[in-house]
């Protein structure tokens, strides 16, 4: 039975590799790093697959690993700044890519970690709030609050987004 779960995990990873790549890329901003992140994430996921309890948890579990590996790489390359209390990180202005556009996508990439993660998972990867809560190990209400805070910071009206 374990074997079956393992195989499903492998399939899931292979089928969704593009999504993981894009998510990683949105953090690390270049191809080589994004490839490294995905490779590391796959490695970790397969190595620790026994931590995976059941198939239902698979999706959020893998996303969590991808985010962690992205973060790890940024930390390793010192491309992020930790907040004073270590509760979140930010990508400094200079690191956000060659060209800074003042478009929404760029601004999302400049947000602090929690807000950025939530916005991306919600709108780019289309996870449900419940799934996001699992990925980020947060209470779902916290997720909602931060989501709205994030949208507010991006100056997107919450009413508009509620219709999304």
């Amino acid at each position: 039975m374990k074997r079956e779960l393992y195989d499903k995990l492998v399939s899931y990873i292979i089928e969704n590799q593009n999504k993981f790549y894009r998510l990683a890329y949105s953090y690390v901003k270049n191809q080589d790093d994004a490839l490294d992140v995905v490779q590391n994430a796959v490695c970790k996921a397969l190595e620790h697959y026994e931590d995976l309890k059941n198939e239902d948890a698979m999706k959020t579990w893998v996303y969590k690993i991808v985010l962690n590996e992205s973060y790890t790489l940024l930390k390793t390359k010192k491309r992020i700044i930790l907040s004073e209390d270590n509760s979140y990180w930010e990508i400094p202005y200079e690191e956000t890519g060659f060209e800074i556009h003042d478009d929404l996508y760029s601004r999302i990439n400049q947000m602090e970690s929690d807000l950025q993660n939530i916005i991306k998972l919600r709108y780019f990867e289309e996870l449900t709030l419940g799934e996001i809560a699992q990925v980020l190990k947060m209470n779902i209400n916290t997720v909602k609050t931060k989501l709205y805070r994030g949208l507010h910071a991006l100056k997107i009206s919450v009413e508009q987004e509620a219709g999304v």
Binding site: R3, E4, Y6, D7, V10, S11, I13, I14, E15, N16, Q17, N18, K19, Y21, R22, Y25, S26, Q31, L35, V38, Q39, V42, C43, L46, E47, D103, L104, Y105, I108, K120, Y123, F124, I156, Q160, E161, G163, V164
Partner: protein, 437 residues
Amino acid sequence: MKRMAEAKETYDNIPIPEELSERVMLEVRKAEEKHNKKITTFRRASFMKKGFAAVAAIAVLFTAGVNTSEAFAQGVSEIPLLGDLARIVTFRSYETKTEDLQISVDIPSVEMISQDLQGLEKSVNQEIYTFCEQYAQEAITRAEEYRQAFLETGGTEEEWADHQISIKVWYEVKAQSDQYLSLAVMGSENWTSAYSEARYYNLDLQKGKWITLKDILGDAYAQTARESIVRQAELLEKETGMEYWLEDWTGVDENTDFYMNQAGNPVIVLEKYEIAPGAAGVQEFEISQDNGSGLENGAGKAPAQENGSSQEDEATAPFQEDYEDNFAVDTEAIVAYAQLIKTAVAEKDLEKLADLTGFPVYVGFPEEGLVVETREDFLALDPQAVFTDDMVRSMEGCQESSLSPSMAGFTMYDQDGAPSITFGVQDGKLAISGINY
């Protein structure tokens, strides 16, 4: 909301490097090997039995599964769009090679674009998937047994490797239209033809359900089909000398396999030994629905040969008879086609006429002739301009039984010589190429 959609688009447009797949597979393989070392009772891949995998590392090449809309955008393994109602994509496509076995599996999956048909979609795909997996698994078991028997009776490993055992699971789109989708999924192995299997999936896309023979041929379907098949088999007996077992044959019932061809006719598939000796192979009979004119577009044809290596024969979807040129077409087919055209014109039915037309088509209106590029453009024409009184009269008066071929094809007109409709062989089948006034 628009801004967020734009942001998402920027995100979705992040290009995927080719290298990604290699990197992912590298990790998959590494992890696979680690696991094999750890626990010897694991099966190495979900399809390989332990004994059989007693060879060096298996190279498993998956192509990324494509049952997500994101992958569609990438055009990975996408099969033509089928009308606007369904798409077939390859759900899982992989090739496995070991030193002495090659397995190639393409499992199709149907995606219904309409949300209403999700129930049908699930059940179709579940069935297809189950069939494919099961077939592949059984074929592997058979291969393993064969191998053991081979070795036990004195064969060597080298000789075995020379066998080039290969198992193939694949599918063909038999027919597609806005109304229906007919899909055949096949499994075969190259060392024995005894176990080849085919399953047919005929879907009514409008109503969201399976199509049965009864749906197509009516309540008397068993009789209609039987009569048609008996007629065709008798013809075949004369032509080929092959013996058909017509008295003992139990006929057609709700379990009989069939698929729809592009002409919209059901093609009954009879298993080996069902109606003829095994050497004749699987028999197919098209039941053309000419309502009593007795025309059979194709007598029973035996499809691909029994050994798995000629799978390439089935690579192209069979339409009606494949014609080399206009001179090769049989009279019955010409007459039948001309009659279809006549009906369409008499009914002033633009859609019916479009169905019979090959694109681009030249439409020589009196004021100005046009080249009509697509079916949509054709349907946008003014029916009154197309179905003029003269055209209707001319088609009515045309003697379809005395049409003769020319390089351009067959031209239909009455004694006045005009207006006329010309049709001929295009891409192997008949289609209208010109309409003149």
